[in-house]
């Protein structure tokens, strides 16, 4: 009993802090329909500010606490309310881009200002207290628990019983109708965001003494709130509260279950409990209970402007020529950077295909890439498992190893797609976010991936390699990887061209898919899954296929990236860290939605720019996450800012690219589907057209019933 109390009491204390964070998250999501991926970063920012006041400036803790609460909770909440207002008619994918961008921005800003090392904020609440048996229950723990429970219950009563409280749900259902009912929807949203951000801030400050002030740790711990929120199905405050307590107790109590195991995976389970709860909820709860908030008022994403065929062809040719010339014009010591950029281009290509074509979101793409990199590395150096009949112990050639690396990621993509089959877009994003972290925490350091040294050798074709010792390999191993068709790719230049060939191949696959019937079906899927199902298309197979294909390409991309540096690191903060998946979504978010050009630009922005002045300066490197995040947010809210319209009113017209003309355009490509045209005729989706007081505007009805993209796909017009 006493040993249980030993875990139960800190569990309940942690649980009440998680509850605060989770209630804030659920509240803002319920009110705005915007799921805030930056919720944990908000908590961390508050902890840093508290640290600054309490430790650096020696303020009394209540003053530091209040200071941080006002800055992050109140002002931060007001900023978030404004951001959420601008995102209120944005599609789910853009809300994810924006809030993930904010997470990247805040994380980078905090690291740039306060440094990467952990800070100690010290125990500011009393650590003494009465003893129950062997267990000391500190007054600090009592205060936190009481505060958490009282606040949570007051919040539930307020939102469940009062008119203003109910308005928080109504504002997402129909803000205009709420406005007609004498309530200012903006005021309701502001209130919710201030409460939500304040709760996140308080949880961050309360966790800081125990965990240290570290952006990585605090972001992850507050994600325990995700698990609790999932228990409440992102709606129900009572279940969220209970979920938070259960997770708090389990995290504290469960490590003793795995005391006697050597398994890296089993030992990692306790800290992954929130994600396991999250994934479990997504797997088993009927989809009808996990509906997306606020989707009624969403405008469809405007397709990229259609360019003339000649422009497209010329653009692609120019890109290819530029890529071929790179090793001839850049300094030799920079070629490796460009080769890695090609690998990243492949990952961005796969991410772009998933997000922009099928409307599904992945926040774990670097997890796919990591598995690809480790598989390719191990196959070329260690060979197939010895127990495999026929091929056991053989070393495949580099192309085959890279292909197999992609292939082995396919089942993982399919598993990740399970929530995608069942659930609406935002939950897929949350599930993939959880999955990415789970993968890193439970598998990266396992022997099957990077192993305890967090490093895998990825020799280029035709090179010698040395495998270092690990916990499972007590001697070093020397070997030689054969060339491709007898050609060695040891030099940076040669490896660059090899990577370019793989990249071109992947780009061709992306273009072929877009132009094939599958491409039209995928766009139809993004348009309206229900309509597509009524046309007898199996959307389940399509969702799984596109996730699996995207995972395959990411795996190949990971292998190419690792080949550039000749090894792959699975260390936290390294190339394959889960945060990189988030940065990728932010970067791709601001590089546009073109299938080839945008991934190339994204890879250049992420990998290449940093080697050139002024981006190679220390400050530029430190703050580049801030720039990435800010740009992603800007792109997501751009349509709502109505910049183009206000410029037009002042007589300034922005230059525009020529449009493709004539009906005989290639099937697929960038062409706006007829259903999209019909949709844009009905709901004006001009990016400059936004009015918070206005519903999606209806204009004249399109002439005749427009065939949908789905119909185009199924009647074979695009086959």
């Amino acid at each position: 009993m006493e040993s249980f109390l030993n875990y139960f009491i800190p569990g309940i204390t942690d649980g009440s802090v998680y509850a605060l964070a989770a209630l804030g998250l659920v509240l803002t999501y319920k009110t705005s329909g915007v799921f805030n991926f930056a919720h944990g970063a908000t908590a961390a920012a508050a902890a840093y500010l508290f640290y600054q006041g309490y430790v650096e400036w020696n303020w009394p803790w209540p003053l530091a606490f209040l200071f941080s609460l006002v800055i992050v909770g109140v002002f931060g909440g007001l900023v978030m309310a404004q951001l959420a207002r601008l995102l209120s008619t944005a599609p789910t994918v853009m809300t994810v881009v924006a809030t993930v961008g904010l997470l990247v921005l805040i994380s980078s800003l905090m690291t740039a200002i306060f440094g990467a090392s952990d800070k100690k904020s010290g125990d500011f609440l009393p650590t003494r207290g009465p003893r129950v048996g062997d267990v000391t229950i500190s007054y600090g723990e009592m205060m936190i628990t009481a505060f958490g429970i009282v606040t949570a219950i007051s919040l539930m009563l307020f939102f469940g019983r009062t008119r203003l409280g109910r308005a928080t749900t109504a504002v997402v259902d129909d803000p205009h109708l709420l406005s007609l009912a004498k309530i200012n929807p903006d005021a309701v949203r502001r209130l919710s965001w201030i409460v939500g951000s304040s709760f996140a801030s308080i949880s961050g400050m309360l966790l800081a003494p125990k965990l240290g002030v570290s952006i990585g740790v605090l972001v992850l711990i507050v994600i325990a709130a995700y698990g609790a929120a999932a228990v409440g199905l992102f709606q129900n405050l009572t279940w969220t509260l209970l979920g938070a307590f259960a997770i708090g107790v389990l995290i504290n109590y469960s490590p003793r279950w795995f005391d006697n195991t050597d398994s890296y995976f089993l030992k990692s389970i306790p800290r992954n409990i929130p994600f396991l709860v999250l994934l479990l909820v997504f797997m088993v709860v009927p989809a009808r209970h996990l509906t997306e908030r606020g989707v009624r008022n969403v405008r469809p994403l405007k397709p990229p402007r259609d360019l003339p065929k000649l422009w497209n062809a010329a653009g692609l040719a120019a890109l290819l020529v530029a890529a071929i010339l790179v090793p001839q014009v850049v300094a030799d010591y920079n070629i490796t950077v460009y080769a890695a950029a090609l690998g990243f281009t492949i990952i961005f290509l796969s991410l772009g295909m998933l997000i922009w074509t099928s409307g599904q979101i992945s926040l774990c793409h670097m997890g796919f890439a990591a598995l690809g990199a480790t598989t390719a590395g191990k196959l070329t150096t260690v060979g197939f498992w010895h127990w495999l009949p026929g091929i056991g112990g053989h070393h495949p050639s580099w192309p085959l190893a890279v292909f197999l690396a992609g292939l082995i990621v396919v089942p993982m993509g399919a598993i990740v797609a399970i929530p995608a089959i069942r659930l609406a877009g935002i939950y897929v994003a949350i599930a993939t976010f959880g999955f990415g972290i789970l993968l890193e925490q439970s598998f990266y350091l396992a022997p099957v991936m990077f192993d305890s040294g967090a490093l895998v050798q990825n020799p280029r074709p035709g090179t010698d390699y040395t495998l270092p010792t690990t916990a499972h390999r007590l001697t070093t191993v020397d070997g030689h990887l054969g060339g491709v068709f007898g050609i060695s790719f040891e030099s940076d230049k040669r490896y660059y061209y090899l990577a370019l060939m793989v990249t071109v191949l992947m780009a061709v696959i992306v273009l072929l898919i877009r132009r094939a019937r599958l491409g039209t079906l995928l766009r139809a899927l993004a348009d309206s899954p229900t309509a597509l199902e009524t046309h007898a298309a199996n959307t389940t197979v399509m969702r799984v296929s596109v996730f699996a294909l995207s995972a395959f390409m990411a795996g190949v991309g990971g292998a190419v990236v690792a080949g550039a540096t000749q090894n792959a690191s699975g260390a936290p903060g390294g190339t394959f860290d889960y945060t990189v998946s988030l940065i990728f979504v932010a970067v791709l978010g601001f590089c546009g939605r073109r299938p080839i050009l945008s991934p190339v630009l994204a890879a250049v922005a992420y990998q290449v720019l940093k080697i050139y002045s002024p981006f190679d300066k220390q400050w530029a490197i430190e703050y580049r996450g801030v720039a990435f995040g800010a740009l992603a947010i800007l792109v997501a809210i751009w349509p709502a800012l109505k910049i183009g319209e206000s410029l037009k009113q002042r007589g300034i017209n922005l230059p525009t690219l020529p449009r493709s003309t004539g009906p005989a355009e290639p099937a697929g490509g960038h062409r706006m589907s007829r259903s999209r045209r019909a949709a844009s005729a009905e709901f004006v989706d001009d990016p400059n057209d936004f009015d918070p007081w206005d519903r999606p505007r209806r204009t004249a009805e399109p002439e005749g019933p427009p065939p949908s993209a789905t119909a185009e796909a199924l009647d074979g017009t695009h086959a």
Partner: protein
């Protein structure tokens, strides 16, 4: 009294209303008729503040309310029951009534609602989206009963309902009229609307093409307005 003076309004895609003026006197029922696309809904949206006009004035009891947000118009007594089902689908019936009522007036509002629409009392804990279309419309219409309006803007409240329910809805509208609540009625059931109305405006292509008492509305006026484009 609600007055819309020389309203010109529209969306980014173009102008919908041109120099439209209508008046809804106290205690009067005014019907606004016209074919699809004439601008009826747009005019109601201007009247309730959902859409800012390019030019013109919106006056409530003589006070200039042009460009005021909907919640301020609503507080001034202009209640808009919008096209479609004007309910919050995720909330229960009683929560919907809570939001329709003035702050602190829930109990009285709930009593009025269940007395007027007994079915709402039976379904008070049911989520609004699970109600039938007619029940949802009654819940929406309840706003006009409990929102303490001086004028109610009703946008095709009979749309998509079974004839029996439509008759029921119109009996509620007559009841509202008898309570002295002014109404601006947009309706597809022209005959019913004319029967109830004290005054009629016909709107076509964004302009008022007829105004007068219902007795002066000839079948020809209606036919020309609704089928004008075909006749030409």
């Amino acid at each position: 009294m609600l007055e819309l003076k020389n309203i010109t309004a529209g969306y980014d895609t173009g102008r919908v209303l041109s120099d439209v003026s209508i008046t809804v006197p106290d205690n009067a029922t005014v019907a606004l008729l016209g074919p699809n696309g004439a601008g009826k809904t747009t005019l109601l949206r201007v009247a309730s503040g959902l859409l800012k006009p390019y030019s013109g004035e919106v006056l409530v009891d003589g006070a200039d309310m042009t460009g005021k947000p909907p919640y301020k118009m609503s507080r001034a007594g202009v209640i808009h029951v919008p096209e479609g089902r004007g309910v919050f689908p995720s909330l229960t019936v009683s929560e919907n009534i809570l939001l329709q009522a003035a702050a602190g007036e829930f109990k009285a509002a709930f009593k009025t609602a269940t007395k007027t629409f007994p079915v709402l009392g039976k379904r008070s804990n049911q989520i609004a989206k699970t109600l039938s279309g007619g029940e949802q419309q009654m819940l929406a219409l309840n706003h006009a009963y409990v929102g303490e309006p001086t004028v109610v803007l009703l946008d095709e409240v009979s749309m998509g309902l079974a004839p029996k329910i439509v008759a029921e809805i119109f009996s509620y509208l007559s009841d509202l009229k008898s309570k002295g609540v002014a109404q601006l009625l947009v309706e597809q059931y022209v005959g019913q609307a004319l029967k109830m109305a004290d005054y009629v405006y016909v709107l076509n292509r964004g302009r008022i093409t007829f105004e007068g008492v219902p007795e002066d509305v000839s079948e020809e006026t209606i036919m020309t307005s609704y089928l004008g484009s075909l006749a030409q």
